[in-house]
Symmetry: C2
Amino acid sequence: MPKVTDEHRAARRQQILMATLRCVAVEGLHRTTMADVIRESGLSAGAVYGYFKSKNDLILAIAEFGLALMDTELRGLAKDGNVPSPDEVTRQLTRAIVRQAESQEIDITKVVIAVWAEAVRDEGVRAIVSERIRTLRDSYAGLVSAQQAAGLVDPDADPLHVTQVMVGMLPGFILQRLVLQDVDPEGYADGLAALRR
Amino acid sequence: MPKVTDEHRAARRQQILMATLRCVAVEGLHRTTMADVIRESGLSAGAVYGYFKSKNDLILAIAEFGLALMDTELRGLAKDGNVPSPDEVTRQLTRAIVRQAESQEIDITKVVIAVWAEAVRDEGVRAIVSERIRTLRDSYAGLVSAQQAAGLVDPDADPLHVTQVMVGMLPGFILQRLVLQDVDPEGYADGLAALRR
């Protein structure tokens, strides 16, 4: 397939995904329909269905979009044999969240919360989301093991438990940022660092 | 007013609140209407409106219900001059969350997530919810100051930052419990304890 076609496909896919994010940010996930996304995208129904066969395909794409960002950040932190401390990881991940939220036309974190709410309500969405969060946790668990080997985290601890807490801090950051609007990456990471001294 | 009337009022109020929780757990908060709550409660419209004038009154009652549980737990932990460690507080609060989720006909944590999603989408709901979360954080901040005085947390840290992280761990616990269904209070508290050693 010629390269221009791949680029064209990627751009179209992104166009539909952004239309979905706009719809979800306003209407919530539950109320957003394929018809809404088609209208918002400015494309034909046939064009949209060529990329996403159902609303669940769109939800999967949103979940992957959000988690790919976290995963890329984690890989960047752990490269060249570098082992960052838990509070340093929290600092970089929350910075990445804010950067992403502020750089796009739509604050992706608002959409992420809509996806959580739908995952709790709907079993199909839950299956999609839980698999993706597990993938993120697996990447994180690798980092925790490296932190244990480097003496940054108690080597006798169960890496899963440490990972649950470390990943578990991120939703509360996102929520406090959106709802109370008084939290920032530096303070949040400093708070964790204080607990570790 | 005679005592029986107060009791009657409290029972009626609780009956309407439980009907609301059932509606929200199934439909989400956004789609639940006063008409749904009236139908589900089995009471007349006049009776329901006598207790809750609008959907926002119901949301406020849900937010207060959830946060009152946390607040009662925090007060219980800090009584008689006792100062629990951060991981002990996390252990007791997550235990209280699970106990409450499992003891009622409706898992209140599912409704809490619906309230978060609506708080992000709707400014009126956000005002209600942010005030209530701030109240919880204020109670928690008092505990953090006591932990600092007792040498359990770095006394030079900003108590607000420590509080943001400690409160910020709870949404991630609730989400992992509902979506991945593999987290429990003991592991979560142990994970935090490992980060503090």
